[in-house]
């Protein structure tokens, strides 16, 4: 187990190195080079030369890459060109908001997706199945940001059930401990703050959950159908096991393996979806940082978000591989 983890971690290294090389090359291929990109309208030949010298861009390319790598490894991604603050600190501050949102979205997707997929598979060809399949197909085809606006217009503006944007109401006085608003409320026993934060979370989390939900339902359905047709399920049924036992011990357990892979892959979708959802709900998380970085061409920030996003994605998928060993005892790591 430990050896497997170590081996996989070592395998991650070349991937990340190559990614860093790509990101490095990406910054170099900016129109006019990074210096003129950073300076924007204020760029004059003298200033560009000056900045190139300060940034070390007049050095040989290998030296530059070495330095870049050294800085990245020590967590120094430079300062945001928008705020002038260290990029990593900015990301640290915005992270709890996005994690809170993504976790709730993933919880919704998994908690609804697996039972729905199972139900559809059990009633294959029936009205429940057909409705579910059609629902998942439409769920994937709806642009996330449009769905966000729809939810907002209907449930927040029209019905007034949920707040339309932000993470907390202005009049709620919450103590900041961890940056996770819901958690902070629980820790400091300010339960009204927790509740308020939760009500802010509902709409964006639902919008963000749709695509992962649709994917999880489809994979669960296909996987359960696969297992239902297998010999050992027939055996289990014919030797008179209680239907509940067959369902939980035989069908579900075997069907969950592909589903867990899919859940890991959803993390990438959540990151991408967060960019769109956060913009709709003025969320102030990683997605907002990214959206601002795009419009204002903040390259240090973009670069850091790109590298860290890929790192998280790769690590989550490693965790998913580890979860195989728990779900399926035949998998030896």
């Amino acid at each position: 187990m430990l050896r497997f983890v170590l081996r996989r971690l070592v395998q991650v290294v070349p991937t990340l190195l190559l990614l860093s090389l790509l990101v490095f090359a990406w910054l170099r291929s900016l129109p006019g080079g990074p210096a003129s990109a950073f300076l924007g309208d204020r760029a004059t030949p003298e200033r560009i030369a000056e900045l190139n010298r300060v940034l070390g861009l007049d050095q040989p390319i290998f030296v530059q890459y070495g330095r870049f790598l050294g800085r990245v490894l020590t967590g120094d991604f430079g300062a945001s060109t928008i705020t002038g603050q260290p990029v990593l600190a900015e990301i640290g501050r915005a992270l709890p908001a996005t994690v809170e949102l993504s976790v709730l979205a993933l919880v919704i997707a998994v908690a609804l997706g697996i039972p729905l997929g199972y139900l559809a598979a059990q009633h294959r060809g029936g009205p429940v199945d057909i409705a579910t399949v059609i629902g998942t197909l439409i769920g994937v085809a709806v642009p996330v940001f449009f769905l966000g606006y729809l939810l907002k217009a209907f449930f927040a503006v029209e019905l007034g059930w949920f707040p339309p944007s932000g993470r907390l109401s202005i009049d709620v006085d919450a103590t900041n401990v961890t940056g996770f608003v819901v958690l902070d409320g629980l820790l400091t026993r300010e339960f009204d703050a927790s509740l308020d934060a939760l009500s802010h979370l509902v709409l964006p989390a639902v919008a963000l959950a749709t695509i992962p939900l649709a994917v999880i339902v489809r994979i669960t359905r296909a996987s359960v159908l696969d297992v239902l047709g297998s010999d050992f399920v027939r055996t289990a049924n014919s030797k008179g096991l209680a239907p509940g036992t067959v369902r939980s011990r035989h069908v579900l357990r075997n069907a969950l393996l592909p589903v867990s892979t899919t859940i890991g892959l959803q993390v990438g979708l959540l990151l991408a979806g967060a960019v769109l959802t956060e913009k709709v709900f003025v969320w102030g998380g990683i997605g907002t940082l990214l959206a601002d970085a795009i419009t204002l061409k903040d390259y240090p920030r973009l670069q850091a978000l790109l590298l860290l996003g890929a790192l998280v994605y790769v690590l989550v998928n490693l965790l998913v591989d580890l979860s195989y060993a728990i779900i399926d005892p035949r998998v030896r790591l």
């Binding site: 990614l19 439409i138 085809a141 642009p143 217009a153 979708l269 991408a272 960019v275 769109l276 795009i294």
Partner: protein, 307 residues
């Protein structure tokens, strides 16, 4: 009753003896599949509208009308009226014409992005699958890295490179997302071809290596990639819409494209929601069409699928 059973049985035997190819067998299954037919119909109608759009649309995409502009106030955009069946948009242009003309641009963005991604992916996948060894290792490492970046993030970083956003940058950004997917898929199915009997036979007969790769391996390996391309068309259109929403879309205000129109309409949602609804529904229906078609193609080509 018994005769129909007998004839049916007879045709089935004929089918078997005719020894149909996998492709024609797949087509036969597709024609009977309501899902495939629905998908094909949606895609067909979309393509026809897109092709004929300049002929059907009563007005140009950038053409503004005084009749519509006069009634344009903050908080009010004119609705349907004589000569303008869907009303005007936020700049006093004919919304109906723009919806029609946008189908062409949307199809163009989706198809070009997919085809560019497909071509690059096929080249990479063929090289990796045909040569193996270090070529394969290097190409697949790069592909893995691209796959490790969430797709929209990848598209964003490519689109953000351009000095100013344009339709070309959107197409390239969306195309890049498809490349690693196509390349991986093709490599996998090329590898399974490499040791198959017909390839060994061709090599033994003295067929030159490029010919073996291009004439014997590639045609047999490309099926899953084409299926994936159909599915990618749907995501390409959605990704392009997302890029527009983030401000990385086409900067030309006169251009009509559904994703762009949807993104721009977000500012007028409470004024005239129809401006967002029509493009959104068009995108959803078209994406659904390509997905249905792709999924049923996948099922029809699956040799295991006897359904």
């Amino acid at each position: 009753m018994s005769t129909t059973w007998a004839t049916r049985r007879k045709t089935r035997i004929d089918d078997l003896s005719a020894g149909r190819s996998l492709t024609s067998e797949a087509f036969r299954r597709l024609r009977r599949d309501p899902v495939a037919l629905t998908g094909a119909t949606i895609v067909g109608v979309f393509v026809v509208i897109a092709a004929l759009a300049p002929l059907i649309a009563p007005h140009g995409a950038a053409e503004a009308f005084p009749a519509l502009q006069e009634n344009l106030r903050p908080g009010s955009i004119p609705g349907p009226q004589d000569g303008f069946p869907l009303g005007g948009d936020q700049l006093g242009r004919d919304f109906y014409s723009r919806m029609l003309l946008a189908s062409q641009q949307t199809l163009l963005v989706g198809v070009l992005a997919t085809v560019i991604g497909l071509i690059v992916g096929i080249v990479i996948g063929t090289l990796a699958g045909a040569f193996g060894g270090w070529v394969d290792t290097v190409l697949m490492r790069v592909t893995d890295v691209l796959l490790a970046v969430p797709s929209l993030l990848l598209a964003i970083s490519v689109a953000a490179l351009a000095a100013s956003p344009s339709q070309t940058t959107v197409i390239i950004a969306v195309a890049v997302v498809g490349v690693p997917i196509f390349a991986r898929l093709l490599r996998g199915s090329m590898l399974s071809q490499r040791d198959s009997d017909h390839v060994i036979a061709a090599t033994a007969l003295g067929v030159k290596r490029p010919a073996v790769v291009l004439r014997h391996m590639l045609p047999n390996a490309i099926g899953p990639v084409i299926v994936q391309a159909t599915l990618t068309l749907a995501t390409a259109i959605l990704d392009a819409a997302a890029l527009s929403f983030l401000g990385l879309g086409d900067a030309d205000p006169g251009r009509a494209e559904w994703g762009l129109m949807l993104a721009q309409a977000q500012s007028y949602l409470d004024v005239r929601p129809a401006l967002a609804f029509y493009p959104a529904i068009a995108i959803i229906v078209v994406a659904l069409g390509f997905t249905l078609l792709g999924e049923s193609l996948r099922e029809a080509l699956d040799p295991k699928g006897s359904r």
